[in-house]
């Protein structure tokens, strides 16, 4: 690996000024499970690696029933599913955190890093979209927020401008009778990149038999993760049953514009969008009834 400078920034300001000074020659290090491989294999280059795990705001995970959840951008995956209240309130993100790599990867890899890498197949992004998560970004001109659904702009490319850093992902409070679920399809049991990933969130009516609101995020079927807007809106007011979920799956298929590659042909990916939408809606509904 080519040598670089290493700096463990202690504050957001320090990280921002390093990023502003070094520009593209700086890379932000959270878990390192992608970055270190890419640097070693020459897919990316850095003259400065900024370790942000010493910045308290990037390592905080603070949850309250009233305010929702603030997840620091560098918090490793295992802290999500090991945090009982968070895993209860946002089980769909715990679904994703449990299957990003193996255990050793989950000890290091962060949801913030998964998002910033902006892979179309990233496991966390469809469910972040479904949960209406927002990116809190710090930069030379202060803070701004961007919905996760707008954060990725192309494969490997995100909204961050020079000097900007993702500080946290903010989740609205988990509403009564609501829940989410994430599923991906891979050709083996574990440890693979999604052929398609779908994250769904639903809120049920007081009787628990109809959907009041829903949101579906899709991964690996376009250059960036997508919102299945039409399917999400169509679900409002529909009975919460398998027919509804299957029809929502049909609608979600319409926005998929996948490529064919070594992981699967486009037609197959489109088919999977229907199947996984149906299944994630069913799981999210079951969980919502249990809350």
């Amino acid at each position: 690996m080519k040598d670089f400078e290493y700096s463990a920034a202690a504050t957001i300001d320090e990280a921002v000024s390093l990023l502003a000074r070094w520009g593209d020659r700086a890379k932000v290090l959270t878990g390192g499970t992608d970055l270190i491989v890419q640097l070693r294999e020459g897919q990316r280059e850095a003259d400065m690696v900024i370790d942000v795990k010493k910045i308290p705001q990037l390592m905080e995970s603070s949850y309250s029933r009233e305010k929702g959840w603030r997840l620091g951008a560098a918090v490793p995956c295992h802290r999500i599913y090991e945090h009982a209240e968070v895993a209860d309130a946002y089980p769909g993100l715990a679904d994703a955190a449990r299957i990003i790599g193996g255990w050793q990867i989950q000890s290091r890899a962060s949801i913030g890093g998964n998002l910033c890498n902006a892979s179309p197949a990233a496991d966390s992004i469809p469910i972040l979209i479904a949960y209406h998560a927002t990116c809190r970004i710090a930069g030379p001109n202060g803070e701004r927020t961007v919905p996760v659904a707008q954060f990725c702009v192309g494969p490997g490319r995100n909204q961050l401008a020079r000097g900007e850093i993702l500080v946290s992902l903010d989740f609205p409070p988990s509403l009564p009778r609501s829940s989410g679920a994430y599923l991906r399809f891979i050709p083996r049991n574990e440890m693979d990149i999604a052929v398609v990933g779908v994250g769904s969130w639903v809120q049920l009516n007081a009787r628990g038999d109809a959907i009041e609101a829903a949101r579906i995020g899709l991964g690996a079927v376009a250059p960036t993760p997508l919102v299945a807007e039409q399917a999400s809106l169509w679900l409002c007011g529909k009975p919460a049953n398998d027919d509804t979920f299957a029809q929502a799956g049909e609608l979600a298929r319409l926005v998929a514009r996948p490529i064919s590659d070594k992981r699967g042909p486009a037609e197959y990916r489109t088919h999977l969008v229907g199947v996984l939408t149906k299944r994630t809606l069913a799981i999210a509904t079951k969980r919502a009834r249990e809350t």
């Binding site: 400078e5 290493y6 390192g32 270190i36 491989v37 640097l39 370790d51 193996g102 574990e190």
Partner: protein, 171 residues
Amino acid sequence: MPRKLHLSTTINGLPTEFLCEARQSLLEVLRDVLHLTGSKEGCNNGNCGACTVLLGGEPVLSCLVLAAEAEAAEITTIEGVACEARLHPIQQCFLQDAALQCGVCTPGFILSAKALLDRNPNPTEHEIRFQLANNLCRCTGYDKIVRAVQHAAKQAMASPEPGCIAGGSAK
């Protein structure tokens, strides 16, 4: 010469300081600087798990950690798993149950298994296979490894061993 960083860590219970370059992985430093060659380099890209060590008690791939990130960290390598001359029950069970052939994956498997049993003393077979999924073995076909971990769990439940106070030796 690239500038060297000075790191202070605790490795296998012993305060350990070293110099490293920013680009060096924890695995490289463990093996080439500190001569703790028990951690193995398999793929060097996070797939095989042969370089697994415990960092603050969490299993990590030392090929995907920069040594520079280890400031003030507590690290356990395979050299710190046995108590002096007495093998850890997981190590004993790997031997008794022939859970290794070439042995390159073994240190990583033992540390992952230790991390698992430290958290969950009585895991199901499914839990063992799921938690050890980031450790690859190209010889055994995994069944003997899973049985050795089950066996170690059973033994530890029957007669809990007193913990090793000082960790093993770092050199």
